[in-house]
């Protein structure tokens, strides 16, 4: 039987993931379990290293690469040792060239397959799907990534949390890096604003993981029907509609719901060549996203959307930022206020361009 997998997730180095992993190892040992350290990242942190005392360490492999003596986990030795629980640090680590697996999470998979329980650690910035968000936040491109499915497939994902201020205190006290490196870190990666954003990402990942497990495990089919969501993206033959569909799809994924995209075509008007190209591109995107693309005729946009939403059972509508003049808003009623009024019981989200956020800066 495959072993149980528990992942300790943190926002950044120094929050105490390895420390927590070793604490849990000691606790399991005290409870009579056979525990080994499969791999412990040598961070030279005194508190952490002293906590490793009393736990058996499986000898690491020495690998010579480009004149460097690198240390890697000896996966075969861990499996041959057959403990009940193995503690394996840094699952996103890239192994030295020539190792059987390219990544440590693949080594961990082999350990789990042999029936050994594993506790491992990772920082949120290594999550593959967040790579670009992390780059935008921190201006640091993280090279060592791991696929999102690793978190999905783990039996438990536990957040090891610390406030940004507390982490900075730990840095200043030399508990994370040596003093010279800590000073540089404090003004670069470990700034409060960046740590806050990373913390938010880590919290959100764990919250979504908990939510997906809760919904998957606890709801019977009748309850699922009651909370079922269906997303509808309102698109036009314009480049910005690609973004509306992408954002709608991401929300649909989070909600575990079906998604429709609709273009309300003005009655009796043939699309121009440019519009036809854009509609074809939207249709292809819908196919890739597994969404349903609808093209309906109508002169009254809101009334048509109301009809489509009723037919499709939509609960959540995505619409682009309306480009309306004040005159039209006053004399014709704004699109959004009409939607709110005429689509009761349906959530409406206006999709903006993130670039427009630059205008918020003073």
């Amino acid at each position: 039987m495959r072993g149980r997998y528990r992942i300790l997730l943190g926002m950044a180095a120094g929050v105490g993931k390895t420390y927590r992993m070793l604490q849990e190892g000691h606790q399991a040992l005290d409870e009579g379990e056979d525990v080994v350290i499969g791999y412990l990242e040598p961070h030279d942190r005194a508190e952490t290293m002293s906590l490793a005392d009393g736990l058996e360490q499986v000898p690491r492999l020495h690998v010579l690469q480009s004149g460097l003596d690198l240390m890697e986990m000896d996966t075969d030795a861990v499996i041959a040792r057959k403990p009940q629980l193995a503690l394996i640090d840094e699952l996103a680590h890239t192994n030295a060239t020539g190792m059987r697996n390219e990544k440590r999470y693949q080594d961990i998979d082999e350990v789990l397959e042999s029936g050994i329980d594993v506790i491992s650690t990772v920082n949120v910035q290594h999550l593959e799907s967040l790579n670009d968000a992390i780059f935008e936040l921190t201006e640091v491109r993280v090279r060592e990534t791991f696929p999102d499915r690793i978190l999905d497939e783990a039996d438990e994902v536990v957040l090891v949390d610390l406030t940004p201020e507390a982490l900075q205190q730990r840095l200043r006290a030399g508990k994370v890096y040596a003093p010279d490196r800590a000073e540089a870190a404090l003004v670069n990666f470990f700034r409060v604003d960046r740590l806050s954003a990373l913390r938010e990402l880590a919290l959100r990942e764990v919250a979504e993981d908990v939510e997906s497990r809760r919904v998957a495990q606890s709801l019977d089919p009748l309850s699922r029907q009651a909370v079922a969501e269906r997303v509808l993206a309102m698109v036009e033959p314009q480049p910005k509609s690609q973004r509306i569909m992408r954002r709608a799809w991401r929300s649909a994924q989070r909600l575990g719901s079906e998604m429709d995209a609709v273009w309300v075509r003005p009655s009796g008007r043939e699309p121009t060549a440019e519009e036809a190209t854009q509609v074809a591109a939207l249709r292809r995107l819908a196919g890739i996203l597994g969404a349903h693309f609808l093209e309906v005729d109508g002169d009254d946009l809101v009334a048509t959307i109301r009809r489509v939403a009723a037919e499709r059972g939509s609960t959540y509508i995505f619409v682009g930022t309306p480009d309306e003049s004040r005159r039209r808003e006053i004399f014709g009623g704004s699109l959004l206020s009409r939607m709110v009024r005429e689509l009761p019981g349906i959530d409406i989200r206006v999709v903006a361009s993130r670039v427009d956020r630059d205008r918020l800066s003073p």
Binding site: E136, P239, R250, A281, I288, L289
Partner: protein, 169 residues
């Protein structure tokens, strides 16, 4: 009395201006360019230096940038299968590329295309859309992205002027 009429006329003009004027200060959005520059990429990455170069070219030429993420559909799945995991990787990357272009004042019209291989996806895109230039990233030092074989294929088959950009190592 005349003064009263003048005051009323000024107030009326002011009110009319409020009604007919723009709702808020307009943010200058890039107008679509007449030429289209395709920047295809795959495997969850696009080197930022290549992106910067493509944006500069689009800016200089007044073109629309079309970043296109090429998804692979493994052979064990039907060609029209939704590839959710890869899409989840592609979307944030595409959004980041789109934002970078818009910030630079370059109009952008992003795409996702899928195929058995990146070049298969590219051929599908070329079949249905017109491009004036193709800017393809090359980085032989990494294990992802276009292979040398792919790049050769692009140079041989691209229906437009093609530029292969190699990031500085």
């Amino acid at each position: 009395m005349t003064a009263l009429w003048i005051v009323l006329a000024v107030l009326a003009a002011f009110a009319l201006g409020l009604l007919l004027g723009p709702a808020r200060p307009r943010f200058r959005k890039p107008k679509p360019g007449t030429r289209r520059i395709l920047v295809p990429f795959t495997d969850g990455r696009l080197d930022s230096r290549v992106l910067d170069a493509a944006i500069r070219i689009a800016h200089a030429e007044g073109s629309t940038l079309v970043p296109a993420y090429l998804l692979r559909v493994p052979y064990q799945y039907a060609e029209d299968s939704p590839v959710t995991d890869e899409v989840a990787v592609a979307l944030p990357l595409l959004e980041a590329v789109e934002n970078a272009a818009l910030r630079a004042g370059v109009p952008v019209d992003a795409r996702i295309e899928k195929g058995r291989t990146p070049t298969h996806a590219l051929r599908r895109l070329w079949d249905v859309e017109h491009f004036d230039r193709v800017v393809a990233p090359a980085d032989p030092t990494i294990r992802h992205g276009f292979t040398m074989h792919d790049l050769t294929w692009i140079l041989e088959h691209a229906p437009a002027e093609t530029l292969i950009l190699k990031p500085m190592s």
